[in-house]
């Protein structure tokens, strides 16, 4: 697998508090990598290590096949959770400044900023002061500045906090767009709602340690509980329970209208979808079946409270 970022056995302690305890993650190139965990788990500390804002006590970080070093800063874009802008400075001036700090020349910065401002429909904010903007508006500017220098790796720490739903969708779309162009994205959040939709890979950090990591689909399969959602066609609702062999149980059943019904069925551990079908097709006309995978939210809660 092509890995863009790898952290190996990172330890970081503050005075009498362990922020990261032997944390290792590896982020495949071109994916959206969810860095998940409750507040205070150590996500931000890990991100700050990757951004070289603070140095780990021990452990190594590799970026794009090399040990992480200061010049890599220009290949990483970082949108921190605690983000702000100079209130008294004009939007354009400020964006130019931040872009140049990331290593863009004045000309490049101006060109790219104009393009992005047009794209986000904020070109007439250029000469406004930041204090005149709403929070959501300021976040758009911050987002643009973060991605402006075409970094190979983007790190978003709680990117959607403070955005209205319309802008969340705009942002998600831009994120997916960037990923499709080959940018790798680390997406840190304690809000699981958007994880399945957005992330390809995840690492779950709890109490300074990685407790779960891997591909989202694989993890869901790993945490599967062999329950299925079955839809069938019938004139009236059928009590399926007596028709099923031992070990199978109907969790719930309800009509879908127009002669269709849905039942949620728990099967014995390790059984396959075919086992259920073999039994049930003897009695009803199945029109659809789907495995119910646990949501990341459930897995998260299950793992964290374990």
């Amino acid at each position: 697998m092509n890995i863009i970022l790898e952290a190996k056995n990172i330890h970081k302690s503050y005075a009498n508090h362990k922020a990261l305890d032997d944390v290792s993650i590896s982020v495949p190139r071109g994916c959206v990598f969810g860095l998940l965990g409750p507040n205070g788990a150590g996500k931000t500390t890990l991100i700050r290590n990757i951004n070289q804002i603070i140095a780990p006590d021990s452990g190594e970080i590799w970026f794009d096949g090399e040990r992480l070093q200061p010049r890599h800063i220009e290949q990483i874009g970082y949108l921190p959770e605690e983000r702000g802008l100079y209130k008294k400075m004009k939007v354009g001036e400020q964006a130019m400044y931040l872009a140049q700090l990331k290593g863009l020349s004045q000309k490049q910065a101006l060109e790219k900023l104009k393009t992005w401002f047009l794209k986000f429909g904020i070109e007439n904010w250029w000469d406004k002061k930041v204090e005149e903007l709403s929070k959501g508006m300021a976040q758009k500017v911050q987002f643009i500045v973060t991605i402006l220098h075409n970094p190979k790796l983007l790190i978003f720490d709680e990117p959607f906090s403070g955005f209205d739903p319309v802008n969340v969708e705009l942002l998600k779309a831009e994120m997916m767009n960037l990923r499709d162009k080959g940018t790798t994205i680390i997406f840190s959040t304690h809000n699981m709602g958007s994880v399945e939709e957005v992330c390809d890979e995840i690492a779950l950090i709890n109490k300074s340690q990685v407790v779960l990591n891997g591909n989202v689909k694989e993890i869901q399969r790993q945490y599967r509980n062999y329950s299925y959602s079955l839809t069938y066609e019938s004139t009236n609702e059928i009590n399926l329970q007596p028709l099923l062999p031992q070990g199978f149980s109907v969790l719930e059943s309800h009509p879908n209208g127009h002669g269709f019904f849905t039942a949620k069925i728990q099967t014995p551990e390790g059984s396959k979808i075919n086992n259920l079908l073999t039994e049930i097709t003897k009695h009803v006309d199945v029109t659809g079946i789907q495995e119910i995978l646990p949501s990341m939210n459930n897995i998260f809660i299950q793992t964290v409270t374990k």
């Binding site: 503050y14 005075a15 700050r48 951004n51 804002i53 603070i54 200061p70 800063i73 220009e74 990483i76 970082y78 949108l79 921190p80 605690e82 983000r83 702000g84 802008l85 100079y86 209130k87 008294k88 400075m89 400044y97 931040l98 140049q100 700090l101 990331k102 290593g103 911050q142 500045v145």
Partner: protein, 438 residues
């Protein structure tokens, strides 16, 4: 990386120089300074506020001997009770009551006022006149000295000119004290004004949360140094403009004043402490004072003093500015800075308090010690520099200052890099100590 710190310096500089407050201060400053120089002289000229004093002299010693001089106008009144009544009706400003006693004892004297209290200057001027009259009387009656001889005695003035035994150069002590004091005070002012700006800048970046965005592109140390250097440039720009504009205003105002002043008024205004016999002593005294101020000025090594000034000016600022930055990084808002400001302000204020002591004795042990300690040396060494400081002392002091600011910068950087990323935490000294060891 180098160009990034330049970007930061440029931003810090440009945003501040373009501010309205900077422009206003730049214009107002010289007007204030110039008025400090010009207004006292103007006031001297226009000060016509006289005190009318009723003299009730029961002793008879002072009859017609008190002169209307300066702001004092005397007139004789026979009866104390009448004088008091008139005082209450504001016919007079003051009543001077001299009681009669035996010959050899000093006369008990009272000064009555109505609502308007006499100032120290008025009281001293009256006292001086009374003393003069009594001394005069004693000299003439008891020792039989004529008024002419008495004036001769009064006119004796010694003007001590310190000279270098090897070169014969004169020391121009007054001028040197003036230069030293001005330099010391400028450094003090600069450190405080612009150190506070560094602190405010850090707090602004922290509270607006921009710092976390920047810190992913640039090292905290670069942000801190960029800010410190940028603000130093702002300060130097402002000072330069102040100096140029102040001299401009003073030159214009001075020119206007000189044409309206008579020479005698000029001498009086320059000779505030010596009002005893202005016609004779004043003239002589003024000439010697001006001469004293200017003689030997040519011997002052201005290039050297300016060089030293720049070294201590910049060194002192760098020493303190990084500490101000550290304080800014440790707090969430300006209200919380109090507890950490104390250790910064105490040495600076101590230095200012010690100035008179150093002025008295520029080579005394207190002066030498305080001009070695980096926290006080920028202010106090400048007090000593015009008088000549042994090279080894200067070298040691500058060496210590450089070591000092390297240390404070290192120390501040450690606190700064942790502090800027720490929000919503009440920080105390114990906490800061922990940050140092991260």
């Amino acid at each position: 990386m180098k160009s990034k710190i330049l970007l930061i310096i440029r931003r810090e500089y440009m945003t501040r120089v373009k501010k309205k407050s900077f422009i206003i201060m730049t214009i107002l400053g010289p007007i204030l300074f110039a008025s400090l120089l010009v207004v006292p002289a103007l006031l001297m000229k226009v000060s016509t506020d006289k005190d009318t004093i009723a003299v009730v002299d029961e002793s008879g010693n002072f009859e017609d001997k008190l002169e209307n001089k300066g702001t004092l106008i005397f007139s004789n009144v026979e009866d104390i009770d009448m004088a008091r009544e008139q005082l209450k009706e504001s016919v007079f400003d003051l009543v001077l009551f001299i009681e009669k006693t035996d010959e050899d004892k000093a006369n008990p004297v009272s000064l009555f006022y109505n609502k308007k209290q006499p100032g120290l200057g008025t009281v001293t001027a009256i006292e001086n006149q009374l003393q003069d009259v009594l001394q005069n009387k004693l000299l003439m009656q008891t020792f039989h000295i004529s008024t002419e001889d008495y004036n001769k005695i009064k006119a004796i003035k010694i003007n001590l000119r310190a000279q270098d035994v090897r070169t014969g150069e004169e020391s121009a002590t007054g001028m040197k004290t003036g230069i030293g004091y001005a330099a010391a005070f400028l450094i003090y002012l600069f450190v405080f004004l612009f150190g506070a700006q560094v602190m405010q800048g850090v707090i602004e970046e922290k509270s607006s949360r921009i710092v976390e965005v920047i810190v992913s592109s640039v090292k905290p140390f670069q942000i801190m140094m960029g800010k410190i250097i940028g603000i130093a440039c702002v300060g130097l720009t402002q000072f330069l403009l102040w100096i140029v504009l102040t001299f401009g205003i003073v030159a214009i105002a001075g020119g206007a004043m000189a044409s309206s002043f008579t020479p005698n008024e000029m001498t009086q205004s320059m000779n505030m402490g010596e009002m005893i016999s202005p016609e004779i002593a004043g003239q002589i005294e003024t000439v010697t004072m001006v001469e004293k101020m200017l003689s030997g000025v040519g011997n002052i090594d201005f290039t050297f003093i300016i060089l030293m000034f720049l070294i201590y000016f910049i060194g002192g600022y760098l020493l303190y500015a990084s500490l101000f930055a550290a304080v800014g990084s440790a707090v969430d808002n300006e209200a919380d800075t109090q507890q950490f400001m104390l250790p910064l302000t105490v040495p600076l204020i101590l230095a200012i308090i010690a100035i008179p002591m150093v002025m008295q004795n520029p080579n005394g042990s207190v002066a030498v010690w305080l001009s070695m300690i980096p926290f006080t040396s920028p202010v106090l060494m400048m007090m000593r520099v015009p008088f000549g400081v042994p090279t080894w002392e200067l070298a040691l002091s500058i060496g210590l200052l450089i070591a000092g600011f390297i240390f404070t910068t290192w120390f501040a950087a450690k606190i700064y890099r942790t502090g800027i990323l720490m929000y919503g935490k009440k920080v105390n000294y114990q906490e800061l100590w922990k940050w140092l060891r991260y």
